[in-house]
């Protein structure tokens, strides 16, 4: 025994050591040189200097950008790969539109709905200095490129590669898809070497697709510029644009000048920044006044340590600002661009955003920027509910009852994405659950913690008229984590499958819902303090970097102090369904043995030998059969309650197909519950988790069938209009 214990301890220590080493190795990330630049939060290896002009009449953009890119991977590269997202809506043959048809939407876009992006010029150059430090590309005199490349005054070092563009389809081989562009380089860019890339392009703004586009005089412009893919140690990670995935890119500084007609109010990623070093010029509020006769304004926005840039413009925005302040957290200026018809909903937007900044900040880590922009999207813009660094779109309605969590729910969710997606830059093509799932879980927690509205509303008459069902309160555990959607699609895909390969019609349920449910299960299994430490450790370790799933799982095991791979084998690496339930529950009169005390659990053999004799029964034999109906395994508690008030709790590892508990007691069994605390939120059928001898189904069904009867009578009388 002692020898066994010693060997067990040694094995445990070895396991822990291997685990820690493994954790350390995994902490290296997908890019060898992904540490922050001095004085910065992120590697800042993809910096964009962009000029763009919005042509409102033509619904188009004309842009020019200079990218200063540094290879932070472990290997050299002789090509560049870019995302040209808007080509997903160029024609019906793109991968995005093909997948939309697969998901059941085969309505072709109207003639004026298409979008596209064309690169009209592309050239590269190795800059004179490659110290890799951040500096304003425009004004830093150490870079010779400013006065030369952009104005074409000198061609020193620039190599024109416009004609070398080719389109790639690394995911599905679709030769018609033009959302990934590759450009071979005449030289190799070594690790840590910097390259300047200059592009000019035109973009046709689509009617709303994937939260991008215009309606009337409202524009939401996202994924609008040629964007470099991510060069990882294993090579370029540049996926095609899929219907069910979002984006992935490197961190850097964005210095963007947006020229739009004067009457437009513009909002964008970034704003005032008080980072060190200071930006070269004042940003955001730096509207360049071109004189009274000029019909346009140029808005300059600057953002550091972000991996994307989106902007919006509308003639109708109401611009409102408030300050977020909370002890222990940095101040953040909140800017709300509100639709006039939602006037009066300002406080709801600000309160929801503030709740996010507060609770995410307390639980995971402080929001590092001093600004955030909330965009209230225009009706039918299709741009609601989406996140971009330091800017996000919410979504409300003309009639938004105060007891219903709209706009709170979407506001908290999208604000939360600043943390999961914005700051922790996971790959949304391959592991969308790492931002959407974590964020769905976090959102539900904030809504619950902040006491946000929690009633259900149904919408009638074309969706315009809401009616609040006061009796239905949405719960964090099941509604917030979206159990219903998961239940109906639990086996759709193995979550470990790269997201872009999920079935388009059900991807959301695996990405958002399943992750939130297993996270909440972990919370109940490990306790919130442990899970909070897990998430804050993960946030702190992977902020401004690109984590992989293994990195998250490693943090879980590390902080939990035990190997949790068994859980992720079930929840993440398989599509098996969790379903534990009561197969049978009986309590029959028996003659108890003389030495039977109040708590006797009999083994199968003892059940056979217990004598009932011919004497009067003086007790009860309660038999509980619990079954694992699903294929996934999770330990569960089984609690049997007796009429005398006693409760017996058993802990079952859940591995066998069933387990039988038998009790001989003076008191009759009353009820049995499997997982009464509902730790296993992934259980798709909770109704079968319990059984009672005091049936209430008759009462409940009577009550609800009477309600339904009234509904049917009402319906009949409504149709009586026609006779």
């Amino acid at each position: 025994m002692h020898g066994v214990m010693l060997r067990s301890k040694a094995a445990a220590a070895a396991l822990l050591l291997v685990g820690l080493v493994g954790v350390e190795a995994r902490q290296a990330g997908v890019q060898r040189f992904d540490r922050p630049q001095p004085g910065a939060r992120s590697p800042r290896n993809a910096n964009y200097d962009i000029d763009v002009t919005l042509d409102h009449a033509a619904r188009s953009l004309t842009g020019r950008e200079t990218i200063r890119w540094r290879n932070i991977s472990a290997n050299p590269t002789s090509e560049l790969q870019f995302h040209l997202y808007w080509n997903a809506w160029r024609n019906l043959d793109s991968t995005w539109l093909r997948e939309r048809r697969l998901a059941g939407d085969s309505t072709p876009p109207r003639a004026d709905a298409w979008g596209s992006i064309d690169v009209t010029r592309l050239r590269v150059r190795r800059p004179a200095r490659t110290d890799g430090s951040f500096g304003g590309i425009r004004t830093n005199p150490s870079f010779a490129v400013q006065t030369e490349g952009l104005n074409g005054e000198s061609n020193t070092g620039w190599i024109d590669l416009t004609s070398e563009q080719r389109f790639l389809a690394p995911d599905d081989g679709n030769a018609e898809d033009r959302t990934v562009m590759g450009v071979p380089l005449p030289f190799a860019v070594q690790p840590q070497e910097t390259l300047d890339v200059e592009l000019a392009w035109t973009g046709k703004i689509p009617r709303p697709f994937a939260r991008t586009g215009y309606v009337d005089d409202y524009y939401f412009i996202a994924q609008w510029f040629p964007k470099l893919g991510v060069l990882e140690d294993r090579g370029w990670n540049t996926h095609q644009f899929h219907r069910v995935t979002e984006f992935y890119s490197d961190y850097g500084v964005y210095d963007v000048r947006i020229t739009a007609p004067r009457e437009f109010v513009v909002g964008a990623t970034g704003c005032r920044a008080s980072l060190t070093p200071e930006p070269p010029v004042a940003c955001a509020e730096g509207i360049v006044w071109l004189g009274n006769n000029y019909p346009q304004n140029t808005h300059r926005y600057w953002a550091a340590d972000v991996h994307d840039f989106a902007w919006t413009a509308s003639t109708r925005f109401i611009d409102v600002r408030r300050m977020f302040e909370h002890p222990g957290l940095p101040r953040v200026e909140m800017r709300l661009l509100l639709q006039p018809e939602h006037a009066g909903q300002e406080t709801r937007h600000f309160d929801a955003t503030a709740a996010t900044l507060r609770y995410y900040g307390e639980w995971f880590g402080p929001y590092p920027y001093n600004h955030i922009t909330i965009v209230d999207p225009a009706f039918q813009s299709g741009s609601g509910g989406m996140e971009y660094p330091t800017l996000f779109t919410a979504g409300s309605r003309l009639i938004a009852p105060s007891r219903v969590p709209q706009p709170e729910s979407v506001t908290i969710h999208e604000a939360g994405h600043q943390f999961w997606y914005g700051i922790v830059g996971s790959n949304e093509f391959e592991h969308a659950w790492m931002d959407e799932g974590l964020n769905t879980f976090s959102t539900a927690r904030v809504i619950d913690e902040a006491g946000s509205p929690d009633r259900l509303a149904l919408r009638f008459f074309g969706g315009f008229i809401p009616w609040v069902i006061e009796d239905v309160r949405l719960s964090r555990a099941t509604d917030g984590n979206r159990l219903t959607g998961y239940r109906d699609n639990a086996e759709a895909d193995v979550q470990a499958t790269p997201t872009f390969r999920y079935w388009p019609g059900t991807a959301t349920f695996i990405t958002y819902n399943k992750t939130a449910l297993w996270l909440h299960t972990l919370e109940r299994h490990l306790g919130w303090p442990v899970l909070q430490r897990i998430m804050s450790t993960y946030f702190d370790r992977w902020k401004f970097r690109h984590p992989q799933p293994a990195d998250f799982f490693a943090v879980v095991s590390e902080v939990a102090g035990r190997d949790m791979s068994w859980f992720f084998d079930e929840a993440y690496r398989s599509s098996n369904v969790f379903d534990y339930g009561v197969q049978s529950f009986t309590s029959t009169r028996v003659r108890l043995k003389p030495d039977t005390t109040s708590e006797v659990r009999l083994t199968p053999d003892a059940v056979q030998s217990a004598s009932e004799g011919t004497k009067e029964p003086n007790g009860y034999r309660t038999v509980v059969v619990v079954r694992r109906f699903g294929e996934a395994v999770f330990p569960v508690d089984v609690v049997t309650t007796f009429r005398d008030g006693a409760r017996v709790t058993e802990r079952w590892d859940g591995r066998d197909r069933r387990i039988i508990y038998t009790y001989d007691r003076p008191s009759e069994g009353l009820s049995v519950e499997v997982d009464p605390e509902r730790v296993l939120l992934l259980d798709v059928n909770y109704t079968n988790n319990s059984a009672t001898l005091e049936l209430r189904a008759g009462d409940a069904s009577l009550k609800w069938s009477l309600k339904w009867l009234v509904w049917l009578q009402d319906l009949m009388l409504t149709y009586a209009f026609f006779v």
Binding site: R316, R473, L474, D479, Y686, V710, W711
Partner: protein, 340 residues
């Protein structure tokens, strides 16, 4: 003439309590079988689960969603929309938005409307005569007029089918989409929708009024031809548009007032026990009020028609006043198929 006809109609309805009670009982018992079937499905799903406890005492939305996940056919209609005033909104919205019902409900509705068609003859006859007709008289009239009403219903069915299949699609599907395609303000889109509802509603009301008076003329004038009654109804409406529409509008106003009151008092989920039954009785009172209102539509329109056509009573022979008399129409060379 509008208000007097309205008052006269109300008087006729309250003087026919057996009709009111009969229609109420008929509606209740028409819906009961399906309610019993649903009860069975609910009870079977809950089984011996403790989830039934919360469902009995309040709303167990978790269980509700689990039930919905496995529901099919009739059971799919068991949704939060059945609670309180949401049920009324749901039903009105589904008609105005032309949302189809599931097959068991559709079948039940069809049977209900056929039964209404049968009973309508007896109801109209009783309200027109303004005196008790006894059970045999009521059902005798129902039988007499049933086939005529059925023929009229075929025409009405075609008209309503056209309205819902084509006019509704033109207005509220394609039309709404086209009109609001570039609308970025929800209020504007909402106003468009209201306007289109009003246009479609006007079409429905126009058809409804016409068929109502066709039924009235079938019974009051004992016409044989459904087409003839329809043409006669069109003539009548065409000659008395203000009073006809005014009376309809007055009844519709009462309907909206009733809905408003119901929205305030409609019971929620509540627990089992005494409160459950109180809530059920309150709901039945609301439904009773709707039945009274439905009968009021019929009675007041009948009163208006009889007053307009100078019928002193149901059996009184009309004075030969040009051009409002069937006798006059007969001698004026109108097609014989329109007359008795």
């Amino acid at each position: 003439m509008t208000v007097p006809a309205w008052r006269d109609g109300l008087r006729r309805v309250f003087r026919a309590p057996a009709v009111v009670a009969g229609v109420f009982a008929f509606t209740l018992f028409a819906a009961l079988p399906l309610a019993l079937a649903l009860r069975g499905a609910l009870e079977a799903h809950m089984g011996r689960s403790l989830m039934a406890d919360a469902a009995a005492e309040a709303v167990n939305y978790d269980w509700w969603q689990e039930f919905a996940s496995q529901a099919s056919g009739l059971a799919t209609t068991f949704s939060p929309a059945i609670v309180g005033f949401a049920a009324t909104l749901d039903n009105l919205s589904s008609v105005l938005d032309a949302e189809p019902e599931v097959l068991p409900i559709t079948a039940a509705l069809a049977a209900y409307l056929v039964a209404w068609t049968f009973l309508s003859g007896g109801i109209l006859d009783r309200l027109a005569r303004q005196r008790p007709t006894r059970t045999f008289g009521f059902f005798g009239a129902s039988g007499v007029f049933f086939w005529r009403f059925l023929r009229l219903s075929v025409i009405a069915g075609l008209v309503y089918w056209f309205l819902f299949s084509y006019v509704h699609a033109w207005l509220l599907d394609e039309g709404f989409r086209r009109l609001t395609r570039d609308v970025a303000v929800e209020r504007d889109a909402f106003l468009w929708r209201i306007a289109l509802y009003m246009v479609f509603g006007a079409c429905l009301v126009a058809a409804n009024i016409t068929f109502d008076y066709a039924r009235i003329r079938l019974v009051v004038e004992d016409r044989r031809s459904a087409l003839g009654a329809l043409r006669a109804a069109l003539r009548f409406v065409g000659r008395h548009p203000r009073t006809v529409i005014g009376l309809y509008a007055l009844n519709a106003l009462v309907f909206f007032v009733l809905l408003g009151v119901w929205s305030l008092v409609a019971p929620g989920a509540g627990p089992v026990g005494g409160l459950m039954w109180v809530g059920f009785v309150v709901a039945q009172l609301y439904l009773l009020a709707r039945i009274v209102l439905k009968l009021q539509f019929i009675a007041s329109q009948t009163a208006l028609f009889q007053a307009s056509m100078a019928h002193a009573a149901y059996t009184a022979a009309p004075a030969p006043v040009w051009p409002e008399s069937p006798a006059v129409e007969a001698i004026a060379g109108v097609s014989s198929t329109t007359l008795r």
